[in-house]
């Protein structure tokens, strides 16, 4: 970790080169705008962290092909040091200069080791933090413009450009001449300027700048170059002294100012050469190291900003009402759109008469984004210290927040609330997996968007050396599904500017292939791409985590859905779904069955993609925030909730209208769905969603807190449990089945049950369960479930009356008990449903299953 240091944020923006207007990509889709390509490339830059770099925190894509890159920013720069007078003596100044360049080389070496080059190194791009540590900025421009290709002009200031950089700007047929050695050249020019305290070739026009640099190519040795360059400064500087500092300076210059790239050293080579004397330069900076040390000692008035990393600060800056795009655009003169309209366009789409607009010109400057608002708002919060520094093990004082009751969307945009949530989650994530249970508990309240990717991985119980596992999966070898993936990926959630970049397409492909390779028994079904897109979007710079999260997610919620032959699994899922719908909304269910609008017609993409194909990303996030907390049956409840939201329309529609309605699903209120689905979940007996094909063992065990924390599919099976019945038989069932053990638990037949259950929604009173025994009164009198109501089947009995009677008691669950062999209960249940009775289910296995247990009693007459 780097020493705590106050940083500011700054934003640079530029307009990417325009694309030809009338062309299509090879796949027939429109070309990706350069700004989008750039946005995708840029994401990787966020992962670069080094003490000599200003880290990037965010990238945005604005209108008219404009890219905004937000990074750390410091006000002081080497440019100021060169141009402003100093009090340091000649010797100290040399030491200082050497230290700066040493830091620069360190930064460059780090960049090079990660495969990046800067190519626009200049004094203005070397910023200095409070300690005077040099920090490179703007280094990402080369990478995010794909080596300058996405920019209409060249990168970098001419004066500092190496000869090969200038030449490659002219001869595009030799594109790969530049390397980290070009940066070394720039660093050396900066060093010369620093030593002379004067800008080289100040106010010389571009043409002669190019000539002057290129004329150096006649010199074979770096000595000659140094000599020539030094002559261009007003002040004469002698490098012939023999003290250590001058020697080291000479080492850098002599290795770095060779015209020929092959003779020039890389940053690493120079650092190695300096290596043995490195201690010396550091030792001579006692003042600096002391300064650093003092800063790390927490002072009385702690500034929480100092402890946050820049990405967190950026997140808060936005929450505090910052509007970066508007702020940057204010400083850019924009041409009103009416002036940029072309004059004439041919039928082929060629544009004529476009006026050049000045804002498209490149300006490497930064716009400072002030942190004052964030700071002052944080100050208010420091009064309640336990909110910013929450205690996890000890019971901390009441941490509830006044915003906690507000709707999610407001909470997500509430500065104070998010400060606390982020602080809490930061600690929880540091303690993961030890603190997983606490994480689950907090996630039930909400998950801050800032750390959703990591929290989800935690909820899905992702752990281990993911990177190692991921690297070992072969993602390169072509496989049969490549073609289908290549077709689907460019059509998957493309409204999102990040996901439609080529970088994202590549990542999606890799993660998908990695998943396929690591699950050889499963296959690619269309829809997997949508599922994958969600995880890739959240873990854009962490493919291993995206892959692992997706694997866990599919194991839990979509177990065996991606088998080559998944019809049995899906069929069972859909039948259970329609049973659950019947349980909660018998009228709607009856109507849909009547018009023949069965779940097979609309619900397969819902469940196969866990709604990721149905909703836009921001809605999926909120939906899955809750989904991930539920068990493997929870998605069924979401399905029911969606149908209930469309209830009014559905009840009035015939088959064709329903098909039309679902082919282009209307806007769904996702908060409503989430709330409703929780309600549906809480009102369903857990055995009612039993599925044969569900995942049998839960990998991530949680301590069972209540009735709801158990997933019936993963509970150990006894003779009282639900058992598998053939699909054809399952399809004949009209309503869902409840297992004997579930019934016993709900009716509290074996001692009272403290926790909440579907039948006992409130703390008070008895379970609200109604048991109808439809056997003949003879059989009933020989033994029945305590409290059950005997309603022997007879043709003349009025069902509506019965329903009226039951409804008066408003039970949550109505259990119908019949004989296992005759199955008259189906017919009976159907009648009940037609009357609109909610909560109807059948005891699985009939009365016979309860006989050995000893809960049956003889009814008192």
């Amino acid at each position: 970790l780097f020493p705590l240091m106050k940083c500011s944020l700054g934003c640079m923006s530029f307009v990417t080169a325009a694309l030809p207007h009338n062309q299509c990509g090879i796949n027939g889709l429109p070309l990706t705008p350069n700004s989008i390509t750039s946005l995708g490339l840029a994401q990787q830059l966020k992962t670069l962290k080094h003490e000599n770099l200003c880290s990037y925190v965010d990238f945005r894509c604005g209108r008219h092909e404009r890219i905004f890159a937000v990074s750390e920013l410091y006000v002081d720069s080497v440019f100021n040091k060169i141009t402003q007078p100093t009090e340091l003596k000649q010797d100290d100044w040399r030491k200082y200069s050497l230290n700066i360049v040493h830091g620069v080389l360190n930064g460059l070496n780090y960049l090079n080791s990660k495969g990046y080059i800067q190519l626009n190194l200049e004094p203005k791009n070397i910023l200095l933090n409070e300690n005077g540590t040099p920090k490179l900025s703007g280094y990402g421009l080369h990478h995010m413009t794909d080596g300058g290709k996405l920019l209409s002009g060249p990168l970098g200031s001419l004066k500092y450009s190496s000869p090969e950089q200038i030449l490659s700007c002219c001869y595009s047929e030799i594109p790969m001449a530049t390397s980290s050695k070009s940066d070394v050249w720039s660093a050396c020019i900066v060093l010369l300027e620093l030593l002379h305290r004067e800008l080289l070739w100040d106010s010389v026009e571009n043409k002669s700048l190019v000539k002057r640099v290129l004329c150096l190519s006649a010199n074979k040795s770096s000595h000659k170059n140094i000599e020539v360059l030094c002559q261009n400064f007003k002040e004469n500087l002698s490098l012939n002294e023999t003290d250590d500092v001058t020697k080291l300076i000479k080492v850098i210059l002599e290795n770095g100012l060779n015209v020929e790239s092959s003779q020039r050293a890389t940053p690493l080579q120079i650092l190695n050469k300096l290596g043995k004397d490195l201690n010396l330069t550091n030792e001579q900076q006692p003042a600096d190291t002391n300064g650093k040390f003092e800063k790390t000692v927490p002072s009385e008035n702690t500034n929480p900003l100092m402890e946050m990393d820049s990405e967190e600060i950026w997140c808060l800056w936005n929450l505090a009402g910052g509007d970066m795009v508007a702020e940057v655009l204010r400083s850019v003169t924009t041409t009103p759109p009416i002036r940029t309209v072309p004059l004439f366009v041919t039928v082929h789409g060629d544009l004529y008469g476009l006026e050049p607009s000045p804002e498209n010109l490149f300006n490497p400057g930064y716009k400072l984004l002030s942190l004052d608002t964030v700071e002052s708002r944080l100050e208010v919060n420091t009064e309640n210290i336990s909110l910013i520094y929450p205690l996890l093990e000890l019971k901390s004082p009441d941490v509830s927040h006044e915003s906690a009751k507000l709707p999610l969307l407001i909470r997500e945009n509430d500065f104070d609330y998010q400060v606390h949530r982020i602080a809490l989650y930061r600690r929880l994530l540091l303690g993961y997996p030890y603190l997983r249970d606490k994480l689950l508990k907090e996630a039930r309240i909400d998950i801050p968007p800032y750390c959703r990717g990591r929290v989800w991985a935690g909820l899905l119980d992702v752990k281990g050396d993911l990177e190692e596992q991921y690297i070992n999966i072969d993602k390169d070898t072509p496989i049969v599904t490549d073609r289908q993936i290549a077709v689907d990926v460019p059509r998957c959630h493309q409204y999102d500017s990040m996901l439609c970049s080529p970088t994202a397409h590549e990542k999606l492909k890799r993660v998908l292939k990695a998943w396929l390779m690591s699950h050889p028994h499963l296959t690619y079904w269309q829809g997997l791409d949508s599922l994958c897109a969600v995880f890739v979007h959240l873990n854009f710079n962490d493919e291993p985590r995206a892959w692992a999260s997706m694997s866990q997610f599919i194991d839990k919620y979509l177990h065996d859905f991606f088998l080559k032959d998944n019809s049995a699994i899906i069929q069972e899922y859909l039948v259970v779904f329609s049973h659950l719908l019947t349980f909660h909304d018998p009228l709607l269910s009856c109507h849909m069955q009547e018009i023949g609008f069965i779940p097979d017609l609309y619900a397969i993409p819902w469940f196969l993609t866990m709604f990721a194909h149905v909703f836009p990303l921001h809605k999926i996030f909120h939906l899955w925030d809750t989904l991930l907390l539920g068990n493997s049956s929870f998605p069924l409840c979401i399905g029911v909730a969606i149908l209930q939201q469309l209830r009014g329309q559905l009840l009035q529609s015939d088959f064709n209208e329903c098909i039309l309605l679902f082919s282009d699903l209307p806007e769904i209120d996702i908060d409503g769905v989430v709330k409703k689905s929780i309600q549906v979940f809480c009102q369903s007996p857990k055995s009612s969603t039993f599925r044969v094909h569900a995942q049998k063992e839960e990998k991530c065990k949680r301590q069972t807190v209540s009735y709801y924390t158990e997933d019936y599919n993963t509970l150990p099976k006894t003779e009282l449990s639900e058992t598998a019945i053939p699909l054809s038989e399952l399809k004949q069932e009209v309503c869902c089945r409840i297992s004997a053990d579930d019934l016993i638990q709900l009716c509290e037949l074996k001692g009272s049950n403290n926790s909440k259950t579907p039948a006992k929604a409130t703390k008070s009173g008895k379970p609200r369960i109604f048991i109808i025994d439809i056997r003949s009164s003879d059989e009933f009198s020989r033994g029945c479930v305590p409290g059950s109501f005997n309603f022997p089947l007879a043709p003349n009995k009025s069902i509506p009356q019965l329903v009226q009677m039951i409804s008066k008691q408003s039970p949550k669950v109505v259990v119908v008990i019949g004989n296992k062999s005759t199955r008259e209960d189906r017919e009976f249940c159907f009648e009940l449903l037609k009357e609109g009775l909610k909560g109807v289910c059948v005891l699985h296995g009939g009365i016979d299953i309860l006989k050995p247990v000893g809960v049956l009693t003889v009814p008192s007459q």
């Binding site: 002009g153 309209v341 544009l351 836009p616």
Partner: protein
């Protein structure tokens, strides 16, 4: 490895490695291709190779290291080699340095703000000043000023019409007198001389009016610009307040205010219906559709009902904003002579002075320049094909004008009632109106293609409201049936949606 000075080095290399366990005999010799420019993560490649060849895991660390080093070295060599190639160019021929200097400095001039010629950024000053003023208290003044100028032009046009019709009447009288007296006081020659003289007269008079019109509008435009600049300066100096409100307006002749509004026509909307639709599979975007039966130029004219300022208000405020309005007019291939709706459109445009942009004539003239260039390049590409074919097609174009169907040009306006931009889509309207066009005009028709490009331009230039002739014609003919309308509307709607 040999690179042989190949500039198109794609970075393919072969890596060799011998797996050994310390004994003399190597276990395995590995040799595999690696692209040093494209390799994503060396460790992934190593993992693949190790899994494929079943190499014992203790080799992994070293193999990773060696491969990484190999890739880094080869990549650096490649860069060095290319750099050397570049340097060799100017060492071989030092005179190239001048060429490079020119190319490179031009590139910087064209793309870097600090190196660009300064005049570029000036042109936005007037629009920005105006945009600021129209959103301030000065708006009222500007709109009043505009109205005064508008009335002055109206009066001028009325005078012109009067004077021209007077002359026509006089000519008619003269001519009829002459014709009546042919053989007595006049010979046939005299009559033809008279006719020539009359023609010259009327031409002269028309030219005179035209020149005067130009003078008037230019003067107005100049004054207007001066006012805007002055207001803007005052606002800056006085913290967004004007010095003296009525000053400029008093200078104008009060009598001008009373005018006969000769051009404004009340042509309201006879039928109208609005819809809101959501489009998109996952993320829905909301659009408003307004179906109406109206004359296309309704969106350009000022109508009788309501003050002109009220109608100008919205349009003026959004002129330099990110929310523009446009209409599509179907126009002729010929740019010079205008007929039909274009003619009416011209009249509307000329009924008041264009303060912000070039006049319609000038704009069209500039379009013509570009169109000529396009036509030239089109005929050049045709040279490859049959010569006769080319001749005939060229002749065709000569006859029909410089544009082809599906092309469109865009004119900018600040003096129309509801729109800022007009797309002039070239179409053979008479053919679009026939019964046969029902089957001829498909989604691949040139006009539809042009329409797609219009939508693209509109979306990329902040045009938020666009009005489209839904049936692709400005007048109805007898051949048009209800079925025809439904099908055409569907075609256009689909095109717009796409």
């Amino acid at each position: 490895l040999s690179m042989n000075g190949n500039t198109l080095d794609n970075g393919d290399r072969t890596f060799e490695y011998v797996v050994s366990t310390g004994s003399n005999k190597p276990i395995q010799e590995l040799r595999f291709p690696v692209n040093v420019l494209k390799v994503f993560d060396v460790r992934e490649l190593v993992a693949r190779v190790m899994n494929f060849h079943r190499i014992p895991c203790f080799v992994e660390t070293e193999l990773n290291m060696k491969l990484k080093k190999f890739v880094d070295n080869e990549r650096m060599n490649l860069h060095d080699h290319q750099a050397a190639l570049l340097l060799q160019k100017i060492i071989d021929d030092p005179t190239l340095i001048d060429h490079v200097a020119k190319v490179v400095s031009d590139k910087y001039e064209n793309s870097w703000q600090e190196h660009a010629p300064p005049c570029l950024s000036q042109s936005n000053n007037f629009p920005l000043a105006y945009h600021h003023l129209i959103h301030s208290t000065a708006m009222q003044n500007l709109l009043q000023l505009e109205k005064k100028y508008h009335n002055a032009v109206s009066k001028f046009l009325a005078d012109k019409e009067q004077s021209l019709s007077n002359m026509r009447e006089r000519h008619r009288m003269e001519m009829s007198r002459a014709c009546d007296n042919v053989g007595f006081a006049y010979t046939t020659e005299d009559v033809s001389i008279l006719a020539t003289k009359q023609l010259a007269d009327s031409n002269r008079l028309e030219k005179q009016w035209k020149d005067n019109y130009k003078k008037l509008t230019e003067k107005q435009k100049q004054e207007y610009c001066d006012v805007v600049v002055r207001f803007s300066k005052e606002m800056k100096e006085n913290e967004d307040k004007l010095n003296e409100n009525g000053n400029i307006l008093d200078a104008l002749d009060e009598r001008d205010v009373v005018s006969e509004n000769s051009i404004t026509v009340s042509s309201g909307i006879s039928m109208e219906e609005s819809f809101t639709i959501n489009l998109g599979a996952q993320l829905k975007t909301m659009h408003n559709i307004r179906l109406m039966v109206a004359d296309m130029l309704y969106f350009c004219r000022y109508s009788d009902d309501g003050e002109m300022e009220a109608q100008r208000f919205q349009t003026a405020m959004s002129l330099y904003s990110n929310s523009l309005s446009a209409i599509i007019l179907l126009s002729d291939k010929n740019l010079k002579e205008c007929t039909g709706i274009e003619k009416d459109f011209r009249t509307v445009c000329e009924s008041s002075t264009e303060f912000h942009f070039d006049s319609l004539d000038e704009q069209v003239a500039r379009v013509n320049e570009h169109a000529m260039v396009v036509r030239q390049s089109r005929s050049q590409t045709l040279t490859n094909t049959d010569l006769n074919d080319r001749n005939s097609s060229l002749k065709d174009e000569d006859e029909q004008g410089v544009l082809t169907e599906g092309d469109f040009y865009i004119t900018k306006h600040s003096n129309l009632s509801q729109v800022h931009l007009v797309f002039h889509l070239v179409a053979e309207e008479s053919q679009l109106r026939t019964k046969a066009s029902l089957t001829n005009v498909t989604s691949r028709h040139r006009v539809i293609l042009g329409m797609r490009h219009i939508m693209k331009v509109a979306s990329s230039h902040d045009i938020r409201t666009i009005t489209i002739p839904l049936l692709l014609c400005h007048e109805l003919s007898e051949e048009i049936t209800f079925q025809w309308c439904v099908k055409r509307a569907e075609l256009v709607m689909k095109c717009v949606k796409g």
